[in-house]
């Protein structure tokens, strides 16, 4: 993004090759073949199997299953918490990236490394740590318990766990863009009389918006699929704090494979639609810039 002037890397086009055009980049056939093979093996095949399993229920069965309050409730919790958590990650991730890039303080490198912790930590460990911390007798939970607020074992806990796992995605996508931003653009805005807030909102923010939406999308996707940390911090009550991945596991434990596949397929369609939507939005923002 910051290198808007730079040309795209030379691309080897399959259609060009089929029309007999020559390219200096070798190995198009081989690399394309391997890519498609691996993609099929790891992504398309299992997905197709799942959709096939779900299809055994028939349309009537599918609608009947998916319309139950428990399934609808789980989707509401999953989508709502993931969206809210991704939004929170976007705001605080931007702030963290900003501080890491723009300020120099002792321990900055350590703080920078700690951002990756949610990537590396087994999510179940994170879940146990968070639920202990936010339990009514935990360090943080006890602070809000007198006001009648419970965090662990409620839907708020789910939101906090999803924020925890989503945060690094935002920081790591915004950070490089902030790093590469020329100070001169801000100086130019300053010389033209813009105040600090105007410089941020009119010069800096539009420049990092594409990377911020990318980070948001990744955090959101991660939140939808998160399982390990949530099952520890949530009470997992059907319809209240039960998430979709857990519901699928429950179906499997009852040997209802078709039901699990049906819920999984719906989840797949929803996530795909959401991610496509975000990507379209991003492309819209970018195309404005490059005509």
């Amino acid at each position: 993004m910051s290198l808007a002037d730079s040309r795209p890397a030379p691309a080897s086009s399959l259609w060009g090759r089929l029309r007999g055009q020559r390219s200096i980049l070798p190995g198009l056939g081989l690399s394309l073949g391997i890519t498609l093979f691996v993609l099929s093996l790891i992504v398309f095949l299992p997905t197709a199997a799942m959709v096939g399993d779900a299809a055994t229920l028939g349309v009537g069965g599918l609608v009947h299953l998916l319309a139950t309050p428990r399934v609808l409730g789980a989707f509401k919790v999953s989508l709502g918490c993931a969206a809210l958590a991704a939004l929170t990650s976007a705001i605080f991730g931007l702030l963290i990236a900003w501080v890491l890039v723009r300020t120099r303080f002792p321990g900055r490198r350590l703080a920078d490394a700690m951002v990756d912790l949610p990537f590396a930590l087994p999510t179940s460990v994170a879940g146990i740590a968070l639920s202990t911390l936010y339990a009514p007798n935990g360090w943080l939970g006890s602070l809000v318990a007198p006001y009648g607020i419970r965090i662990s074992f409620t839907v708020i806990g789910v939101y906090i766990a999803l924020t925890f796992v989503g945060l690094p995605f935002v920081v790591r996508s915004v950070q490089p863009v902030l790093q590469d931003m020329e100070a001169e653009q801000e100086e130019a805005a300053h010389m033209l009389g813009a105040g600090r807030l105007q410089i941020f909102s009119r010069v800096i923010f539009p420049a990092i918006l594409p990377s911020l939406t990318a980070g948001f999308a990744m955090a959101f996707a991660r939140g939808l699929g998160e399982y390990g940390s949530v099952i520890f911090i949530s009470s997992n009550r059907p319809g209240v704090s039960e998430i979709v991945p857990l519901l699928i596991v429950n179906q499997l434990e009852q040997f209802d494979f078709a039901g699990a596949a049906a819920i999984g397929t719906l989840m797949l369609i929803l996530s795909l639609a959401l991610l496509c939507g975000i990507m379209l939005l991003q492309r819209l923002v970018r195309s404005g810039r490059h005509g």
Partner: protein
């Protein structure tokens, strides 16, 4: 109203490096002044301090008598053009130019229609009206810099600061844009300060040149003054090439080349202390002021003859010194000089500078006996 800039004893250090060393300077209102110097001479630091993008450790910058540091950039009325344009990439050309007007507080902000009209007028001024809806990434370097200029002019500055504005452009575009800037400067009531390391650009464009070196001002003057009356060898050598000829002052102020008997120049300030007989001097002579005459008994030997455009460049060896002479191409055949031929050397005009700070510089010309062809 154009701004008068007064710089008083400004110093700036970066750690152990002194970027500016007690610089004092006055820039009269309405002039186009070039800050010229090699890289690291402090010219950009000075420009940034005048702009308020950097702050002096000591000293003051006054614009029309008012201290610049304490004021908001909006009230300073200073436009700044960056070497690498610094255009806002996510805004159109028109959006970039309008920026300075749009960020004004509500009371001072022109109406939308007025902004639109102003932007259109400015884009016409820089001859880019047809590109108003494009994005910076779709423009060439010269076009981008013109957008940057229009953007800086939108806030109606009293003072326009340009930091190597043509440094990233190729020679032809640089020259065109330079001339265009010069005309623009004349049409607007504005003081312009241009940082450059290109002496040719400074000589061509500026009303006045401030030549800087190692954080100090070496000399201030019109291009002609700096070129013909340089205050130091540094100024002389920075503004174009020069030969150094080691010589000895003889009787009547005649300078002979050290190690040979050839008289090459004569002092035209006779009676000056430096011209005392027997004194060693270093003569600084521009290549086009070095005249060659083919002679079998000449002390100089031609090393090479190269044709470079309108001029021929002749290198000669004289008493172990390699000297360069430039002669108009049409005169080359009449000189009868080839590689290895011997020549007599005469200085049409040259200068020497005092070695120990005693007295001023000395001017030299061809000895009277030398008949100019």
């Amino acid at each position: 109203m154009a701004g008068h800039v007064s710089i008083r004893d400004v110093s700036r250090r970066f750690g152990a490096f002194t970027a500016l060393d007690a610089v004092s300077l006055d820039i009269p209102a309405g002039e186009l002044v070039a800050l010229l110097g090699p890289s690291g001479s402090g010219k950009t630091t000075l420009l940034r301090i005048i702009a308020g993008l950097d702050f002096p450790d000591t000293g003051q910058v006054l614009i029309n008598g008012e201290d610049n540091v304490a004021r908001h950039p909006r009230e300073r009325g200073v436009g700044f053009v960056f070497q690498h344009y610094a255009l806002f990439r996510h805004m159109t050309v028109a959006g970039n130019v309008a920026f300075g007007l749009q960020v004004r507080p509500r009371g001072l902000r022109p109406s939308k229609a007025e902004i639109k009209a102003r932007v259109a007028a400015l884009l016409d001024l820089v001859q880019l009206g047809w590109l108003a809806d494009r994005y910076p990434s779709e423009l060439s370097g010269g076009q981008r810099q013109r957008v940057a200029l229009a953007r800086a002019l939108a806030i109606e500055p009293r003072l326009l600061l340009l930091d190597e504005p043509f440094g990233a452009l190729d020679t032809k575009v640089r020259k065109e844009l330079g001339q265009w800037l010069r005309n623009l400067h004349h049409d607007q009531a504005i003081t312009s300060l241009l940082v450059t390391h290109d002496q040719e650009e400074a000589l061509e464009l500026a009303d006045r040149i401030v030549l800087m070196s190692q954080g100090r001002v070496e000399q201030i003057g019109t291009p002609a003054e700096l070129y013909t009356k340089p205050a130091s060898p540094f100024v002389l050598e920075f503004l174009g090439e020069a030969n150094r000829i080691a010589g000895v002052v003889g009787e009547g102020g005649l300078v002979r080349v050290a190690g040979t008997g050839d008289a090459v120049a004569q002092s035209i300030d006779p009676g000056h202390a430096l011209a005392a007989a027997g004194q060693a001097v270093t003569l600084y002579v521009r290549p086009h002021d070095l005249l060659l005459e083919a002679r079998a008994d000449g002390a100089a030997v031609v090393r090479s003859v190269k044709v470079a455009g309108a001029f021929a460049k002749i290198e000669v060896v004289l008493a172990d010194q390699v000297l360069t002479a430039l002669t108009p191409l049409h005169r080359l055949p009449s000189l009868h000089l080839q590689e290895g031929s011997r020549a007599r050397l005469v200085v049409a005009q040259g200068m020497s500078f005092p070695t120990q700070g005693a007295g001023g510089s000395l001017q030299f010309a061809a000895p009277r006996s030398f008949a100019m062809a």
